[in-house]
Amino acid sequence: MSWGKYVTGALLIAVVTHTVCIYAAPRLMMNVAIERIGAAGFNTWRLADRVTPASRQIVRPSPDFAYSACAYDLSHGPVAISAAAWEPYWSLSLYAANSDNFYVIDDREAHYGAGITLIRRGARAPDGAETVVQSPSQRGIALIRRLAPTPAQYSAAADVSRRDVCASLASVAG
């Protein structure tokens, strides 16, 4: 029995498995995060509970921030995303399905908050849309961080977060 073809076969399978693992790992991790955040619905903001010693959702959580997350889905067209301004610091970050952070804006660039129209890369922007951002993937995560290290600041940030928008323009129009 010749072992050469089996060794070659094993090596080929090793190369394919290795490549699939490397490509799939970030997408799998992001998919878990997208499904978790979008469990109760896509294209809507969710304010995470304040980080306390009892928090066990993510490792090494930062107690400095009030986090709002929106799992977006562009399958029904563009999504409007806005973040209300907050002192002393806020930022809006967008992450694609492969985990790339493809957009970030903070209070240094947008003193009065940010408002964008998110479209799929290559899609036509809606008429009149001002700040258009192209997403490399159909689904992803938008994240607003507001610096709020004390319970009082978190509570105030929670009030401000009610003005944030994450909504499909199709549902807004409909």
Partner: protein, 193 residues
């Protein structure tokens, strides 16, 4: 015939195991190549950096999924004292430093399980707004506060806890170094003479 089928099945299994193992090893070693050391502090360039290819992307996702971009924040972790010993609840430490060239910073204490320590001291993190941005500062890291003006509670942290320094909106002249970053000094440990 059966021998041939078994041989191919074994080749497929060995190949798949090799593929998964080599991917894991690549990420593990690749991750280390992203880590920079400044004194006792470790900083991973992976968290918040831009992916340049599939390997970099996988390392970034593993080490800093949804992390802020490096332009927004830098993260430094300390898990040993000035003698290279693991941090221990039975010791009293002093973390001291000069003003940092950044808009805002904080230090958070994590237990060995990478979560905040389960205690009711409300002293798991401290930030520049409580310490002051313009002066040399120091924070006691210990299970009880005593007379320390600033305190990070290690009560219940046990052994192998760690500190994370988060530097937000670092100024252009912010240059991490062992001298520029805060220094942890061991004051005493229970049971030592």
């Amino acid at each position: 015939m059966l021998r041939r089928v078994l041989a191919w099945a074994a080749a497929a299994l060995i190949g798949a195991a090799l593929g998964v193992g080599s991917a894991w090893a690549t990420l593990e070693f690749g991750r280390a190549s992203f880590v920079e050391h400044y004194g006792s502090w470790a900083h991973s360039r992976a968290a918040g950096s831009q992916a340049a290819g599939p390997y970099t992307r996988a390392i970034i996702a593993r080490d800093g999924l949804l992390a802020l971009s490096a332009r927004e924040a830098l993260y430094f972790t300390l898990s040993e004292d000035d003698q290279g010993r693991p941090l221990d609840e039975s010791c009293v430490y002093e973390l001291s430093g000069a003003p940092l060239a950044t808009r805002w910073w904080s230090v958070t204490l994590y237990a060995d399980d990478n979560y905040l320590v389960r205690n009711s001291d409300h002293a798991g993190a401290i930030d520049v707004s409580r310490i002051g941005a313009d002066a040399v500062w120091s924070v006691r890291v210990s299970p009880v506060r005593g007379n320390a003006p600033h305190w990070l509670s290690s009560r219940g942290a046990g052994r192998n806890f760690s500190l994370t320094l988060r530097v937000y909106n670092p100024h252009r002249d912010f240059a991490p170094s062992a001298e520029a970053l805060p220094r942890l000094t061991t004051i005493s440990c229970a049971g030592e003479a």
